[in-house]
C-alpha cells in the first residue's frame, strides 16, 4: 500500500463521500415519508389505497435495487421518461427503502399492546385521539431500532449507484482501479469512506436495540 497515493486521493474521495451522504440523506428521507404513508394507510386499512400500496410493497421488496435502477435510468427513457442519474439514484432508493421503512413502522405500530388501545378506548378517546396520544408515540418509538437498521442498509445500497455513473464512493474507487491501477489504495479509501459513516451508525443501532429490549420504551 502506497500512502502517498491514498493521500493524493483524499480530495476526490471527499467529494465522493459527500455525494454518498447527500444521496443517502434524500433517499432515506423520502423512504421514511413513503414508509410512514404506507404504514398508516395499511394500519388504518384505508380502502383501495391499501391494496395499491400493498402491490408496491411486494414489487419493492422482491426485486433488487440494481434492476430497479437499470429500469429507471436505462429503460424508462426508452418510453420517454427521463430523469438525471442522481434523481434516478434517489428515486431508486426511495422505491426500495419505502417498503422497508413501512415494515419498520408497521412493526412498531403492531407492537403497541392491545391493552393500550383498549384502555385508551375505555377512557373515551376517539380513534384519532387514540392514534395521536397512544398508538403513534408508542409505536414510533418501538420502531426506532428497525428504522436505524434500515438507514444502515440503505446507505450501503447507495454503492450500487455506481452502475448509473454517479461519482459516489464505489464509482470513484472503481474508477481509480480501472484507470490508475491503484487497487489496494482505492479499496482502502473506499472501505474507510463507508466505515466513517456506518460504524457510528452501527454502534448507535446496537445501543438503540439494547434500550428497546430493556424496555425503556415500554411499561
Amino acid at each position: 500500500m502506497n500512502w502517498s497515493i491514498v493521500q493524493q486521493g483524499i480530495p476526490t474521495y471527499e467529494k465522493a463521500f459527500m455525494i454518498t451522504l447527500k444521496l443517502s440523506f434524500w433517499g432515506i428521507l423520502g423512504a421514511i415519508i413513503v414508509g410512514l404513508i404506507v404504514s398508516f394507510v395499511r394500519y388504518f386499512k384505508v380502502p383501495v389505497l391499501q391494496r395499491i400500496l400493498g402491490a408496491y410493497v411486494e414489487l419493492s421488496r422482491n426485486t433488487p435495487l440494481l434492476i430497479q435502477l437499470f429500469f429507471i435510468y436505462y429503460a424508462f427513457p426508452e418510453l420517454g421518461f427521463k430523469i438525471s442519474a442522481e434523481a434516478s439514484g434517489v428515486s431508486g432508493l426511495i422505491f426500495l427503502g419505502g417498503s422497508y421503512m413501512a415494515a419498520a413502522f408497521a412493526g412498531g405500530l403492531e407492537g403497541v399492546p392491545k391493552i393500550q388501545v383498549e384502555s385508551g378506548r375505555a377512557i373515551g378517546l376517539t380513534d384519532w385521539q387514540l392514534a395521536q396520544y397512544v398508538v403513534l408515540p408508542q409505536g414510533l418509538s418501538l420502531s426506532i431500532p428497525a428504522i436505524a437498521a434500515n438507514v444502515i442498509f440503505l446507505i450501503k445500497e447507495t454503492s450500487i449507484f455506481t452502475v448509473v455513473a454517479i461519482p459516489e464512493l464505489t464509482n470513484t474507487a472503481l474508477d481509480q482501479i480501472g484507470m490508475l491501477y491503484d487497487t489496494n489504495e482505492a479499496l482502502f479509501s473506499l472501505v474507510v469512506g463507508y466505515a466513517i459513516i456506518l460504524i457510528p451508525l452501527s454502534i448507535l443501532l446496537t445501543w438503540l436495540e439494547r434500550r428497546a429490549r430493556r424496555g425503556s420504551f415500554g411499561n
Binding site: 384502555s119 378506548r121 375505555a122 377512557i123 396520544y133 397512544v134 408508542q138 424496555g215 425503556s216
Partner: protein, 245 residues
C-alpha cells in the same frame, strides 16, 4: 324501576362460530356493587367488555341510563366517559407521566378546564396515597401503585359506573390489599360497580349481588350474603370449596 342503572337482556356474544355468552340477563342498581364470579374461561371478561363496547355483541340489548344499545351500536365513544374500566394487566400509557395519564381523558375527551381537572386529579391521588408520584412514569411504579393510578384515571372522568376486571390478579400478594381498599372506599361512597375478582374474602365483604357465570350462562344470581353462606347450585358450591384450600 327507576333505580336501575344498567339492564342487560338476552345478551348473546359469539367469537366466530363459538357462542361464548348465551342469553345473559341481569340488572345493576344504582349505588350497588355486583360481583361477577365464575371459573376461568366462563366469559366474565367477555361480558364486562361487552358493557363498554370493547367487544361487539350479537343479540339482545343493553340499557344504560336512558340509552338503548342493540347489536351493531356504534356510538360507544361518548358513552365511555360514563363507564370507567380497569383491567387486569397494567394499562397505563408508558409514554406519559402519571398526571398526564390521568388528565388525558378530562382534557382531550371532556374538554374540561385544566385547573379544575388538575385539582380533582390531585385530590384523588391523595386519596389513594400516591400524591408524590404525580410526575413519575409508570415504569417507576410498582404493580399495585399502577393499578391505583389506573383507578384514579378512570374516576377523574366522573363515571356513573365502574367495571373492574380482576384488577389484582397480576399483583404480588402484598400489593393486593392497597388496591382492594381503594375499591372498598368507592363502594362505601356508593359508586355503582361491577367487579370480577378471584379474591373470595374481598368479594364476600363487598358484594351486594353476586352473578355466578359458567360456560357463558348465569347459573346463579343471588345476594352477596346468600351466595357465600348458602349457594344454591351444586356448581357454585364446588367453586367456592375449590377456592379455599
Amino acid at each position: 324501576m327507576a333505580n336501575e342503572l344498567l339492564t342487560v337482556t338476552h345478551l348473546v356474544k359469539n367469537y366466530g362460530k363459538k357462542e361464548v355468552l348465551h342469553d345473559i340477563n341481569f340488572t345493576v342498581e344504582k349505588g350497588s356493587v355486583t360481583v361477577l364470579l365464575g371459573p376461568s374461561g366462563s366469559g366474565k371478561s367477555t361480558l364486562i367488555r361487552c358493557l363498554n363496547g370493547l367487544e361487539e355483541f350479537h343479540g339482545g340489548q343493553i340499557n344504560f341510563e336512558d340509552q338503548t344499545i342493540t347489536p351493531g351500536f356504534k356510538k360507544w365513544q361518548p358513552l365511555r366517559q360514563h363507564i370507567g374500566m380497569v383491567f387486569q394487566s397494567y394499562d397505563l400509557f408508558p409514554n406519559r407521566t402519571v398526571i398526564d395519564n390521568i388528565l388525558l381523558g378530562p382534557l382531550k375527551v371532556q374538554k374540561r378546564d385544566k385547573n379544575e381537572a388538575l385539582a380533582q386529579a390531585r385530590q384523588l391521588l391523595k386519596e389513594v396515597q400516591l400524591s408524590e408520584y404525580e410526575n413519575a412514569y409508570p415504569r417507576q411504579l410498582s404493580g399495585g401503585q399502577k393499578q391505583r393510578i389506573a383507578i384514579v384515571r378512570a374516576l377523574t372522568l366522573n363515571p356513573d359506573f365502574m367495571l373492574f376486571d380482576e384488577v389484582t390478579a397480576s399483583l404480588d400478594p402484598e400489593m393486593v390489599r392497597g388496591v382492594l381498599e381503594v375499591i372498598e372506599g368507592l363502594a362505601a361512597r356508593k359508586m355503582t360497580m361491577l367487579v370480577v375478582t378471584h379474591e373470595m374474602n374481598f368479594a364476600k365483604q363487598i358484594a351486594d349481588k353476586v352473578l355466578f357465570l359458567e360456560n357463558g350462562k348465569i347459573v346463579e344470581e343471588s345476594s352477596g350474603h346468600q351466595f357465600f353462606e348458602q349457594p344454591q347450585t351444586q356448581r357454585a358450591q364446588d367453586f367456592l370449596s375449590s377456592m379455599d384450600f
